[in-house]
């Protein structure tokens, strides 16, 4: 339970910030692409 006392929300956000932003962009692109493929009825 002591583990929770040392959590830093600010550092969780700022640590590797640009990697997190890039990962979010890629995640959104992947979802959009797969959704598009499914809608078009194209077999992946």
């Amino acid at each position: 339970m002591e583990f929770w006392k040392n959590i830093s929300i600010k550092k969780t956000v700022t640590h590797n910030f640009w990697l997190k932003v890039g990962s979010l962009i890629i995640a959104m692109i992947i979802r959009s692409y797969v959704l598009n493929e499914m809608i078009q009825g194209v077999k992946i």
């Binding site: 040392n6 969780t12 990697l19 997190k20 890039g22 890629i26 995640a27 692109i29 992947i30 979802r31």
Partner: protein, 252 residues
């Protein structure tokens, strides 16, 4: 893209899950040679998205084939790193766990104390403190310890008749992760010719990562610090404490 459909809770959940997976993969790659793939993957994915938006079917299809082949190539070439990544999946915490300031101060005091003793006794030592970039491949070349850092243990390991005294030690956070690790030698021609293999190994590992490396000379007991390929020698224990504290605080 239908914005309303996109913003529903299922969509948000899917994006969140994908985000965590993609982030974890990239985080793992960051500590290895495969980090250079990140840029390539990002460019391919963004290009695929742009071609799709612009409605360019031939380029989209072509890039899909290239992307598929690329993924297969990545799996074949980086198979050892991927296997290790799967083994370590889930080890990292979601939240950033900040080591207590007292713990860091204690590590620094223990390091300085040990460096002072080793320096007086002219016992050679090579210690790399990791920061953002992992030292996985060097850890694998040594003996994994995962022991709590202490001055006594550090002195014990570098004592000349100790089985682990040869090679470098890797410290991450509050743990001595591994000892007797093989560090790469620097081929920097501007280094003093009188420097031995220990100093060259310390400079070498600092060139290949963002690690801060403490080196104690066996010949004259001098304490040096290697950061980003630059060697600073003849440090007093107080100098060492000040510089280490400044550098390790900066990385957080």
């Amino acid at each position: 893209m239908d914005l309303k459909a996109f913003l529903n809770w299922k969509a948000i959940l899917e994006v969140l899950i994908l985000w965590v997976v993609v982030y974890r993969i990239f985080l793992f790659l960051k500590g290895t040679k495969a980090v250079y793939l990140l840029r390539g993957i990002f460019i391919l994915v963004v290009s695929l998205f742009v071609f799709q938006i612009l409605g360019l079917p031939v380029l989209t299809k072509l890039l899909t084939y290239i992307f598929t082949a690329f993924i297969v190539l990545v799996v074949i070439i980086f198979q050892p790193e991927l296997r290790e990544g799967l083994i370590h999946l889930g080890k990292r915490h979601v939240f950033y766990i900040e080591p207590k300031r007292e713990e860091i101060e204690k590590i620094l005091r223990d390091m300085v104390s040990a460096a002072g003793i080793l320096s007086r006794k002219k016992i050679g030592a090579l210690i790399a403190f990791t920061r953002e970039i992992g030292l996985k491949k060097y850890i694998e070349s040594g003996v994994v310890l995962n022991a709590d850092f202490s001055s006594e243990l550090l002195q014990n390991i570098f004592y000349p008749s100790s089985p682990l005294h040869d090679g470098g030690m890797i410290v991450s956070g509050t743990k001595i992760v591994a000892a007797s690790c093989l560090f790469p030698l620097s081929d920097n021609i501007n280094l003093e010719k009188t420097l031995g293999m220990r100093h060259r190994a310390g400079v070498g590992v600092s060139e290949n990562s963002d690690a801060i490396v403490v080196i104690v000379s066996e010949e004259n007991g001098s304490i040096s610090l290697a950061i980003n390929g630059q060697l600073t020698g003849n440090l007093t224990p107080n100098d060492l404490f000040t510089i280490l504290k400044g550098q390790l605080s900066k990385s957080r």
